[in-house]
Symmetry: C2
Amino acid sequence: MSKVIFDIAVSLDGFLAGEHRGPQNPLGDKGTTLHHWMYGQKAFWGMMDIDRGEEGPENDLVKAVIARSGAFIMGKRMFEEGEAHWPDDLFKADVYVLTHEPRAPWVQKGSTTFHFITEGIDQALELARKSAKGKDVRIQGGGETIRAYLNAGYIDEAMVHIAPVLLGSGIRLFDNITDGLYDIAVKATSHSPLAAHITYTFKRK
Amino acid sequence: MSKVIFDIAVSLDGFLAGEHRGPQNPLGDKGTTLHHWMYGQKAFWGMMDIDRGEEGPENDLVKAVIARSGAFIMGKRMFEEGEAHWPDDLFKADVYVLTHEPRAPWVQKGSTTFHFITEGIDQALELARKSAKGKDVRIQGGGETIRAYLNAGYIDEAMVHIAPVLLGSGIRLFDNITDGLYDIAVKATSHSPLAAHITYTFKRK
C-alpha cells in the first residue's frame, strides 16, 4: 500500500532551518550543518542524491528513501529555491508543486516532470498517488508543506534525521501541529556520529 | 574515567515537561506520556527504578544507567517534588542537592544520603566526583540544572529519550544553550515503539 512519507533533518534543539533563510541561504544560518551526514552540495537544496557515488552506512538509507518514492510534493518556495540548482532529472518521477500561479508542466530530460498545482494539498496528493503507482508519495518539503500534510492527517511515516548541532533559533518542524490526530510509534533507529535517524509511524486516530 | 552524564525524556516536539507544572503535576500537562517507555509511577519523579522487576529491551538500558552512576546532582525543585514520593534508598549513592538553604545531610537507610550544597554547581560536582569513586556523576535534573551544567561545559555524555508524543507547549531542554561550547556526536541509538534512545557524546571545544 502506498504511503505518504516525509523525511527531514533537524538540529538537536529541533530546528529544520536557522535564521535569515532566503534564496541565497536556503536553510538559514548554520542550516547546512544539519546535512553534514549526507555530504554533498545537493543536500543543501533539500534533495538526497542517489548518484552521489559515496559510500557509507547512510548511503543505503538515502537509496532506500529514493527507491520507495514514486512521486513528490513540494511547496512553491522549495521549488523556487531549488529550480536553478537542481540537476536535470534529479527526482526521476512526477513532482507536484503547490502554488497559486498556474503554469504549464515543466518536463525535464529523463523522467522528472514538475506539475504546478493550484487546487491545494488534497488535489496534489490525489495526483501524486496516481502517479506513484503503488510506490510511496514523498512530501519533500519545506517545513510548512510537511506541516500542512501532517495537520490534514495524511502522513503515514516519517524519518527524522537529528544532527548533533545546536542552531539556537530558527524554524521548528513540530510547532503548531494539531493535537491528538495520530498515534505515533517509533519504528526504527540508526546512526552515525553525524546523525541519529529515527523512523516514526503515524496512525490516524 | 568518570564522566558527567544526564539522561532525559523529551517529546517529539522537544519538550521535557508540559504546561502547568507544579508539585502535584511535576511533568506538566501530558508530561507523564514522556515516560510510558519506562512504565511505573516512580518514573514520574524523574528516577529510573532498577528494582521495578519488569522485563523488556529498555530494562537493560535503565539498569546500565543506574549501574554506571556513582553520585547524583539535582536541583532543589526536583528534590522537593520528589522528597515525599521516593522510596527509601532509591539512589543508593550520594545525592547532591543544589539549594540556597543550608540543611544537615539526610541519611536514609541503605546507602542514599542527600547533601545540601549552597556553593553552586562547581562545588556540587567536585564533591560528587569524589563520592562517585571513578563511576559517573549523573545530573539528575531538572531541566534548569542540566542546562546549567551544559552551559558550564561539564557534560561528557547524554542520553535523550524521545517519546513519540506531541506536547505542543512546555519547557524545552535545549533552549538557551551557550553556542559553540561542544563538538557533539551521536554515539548510539536504540528504540522500542514507545521511545527512541539516542546517546550523544559532548566534547568541550
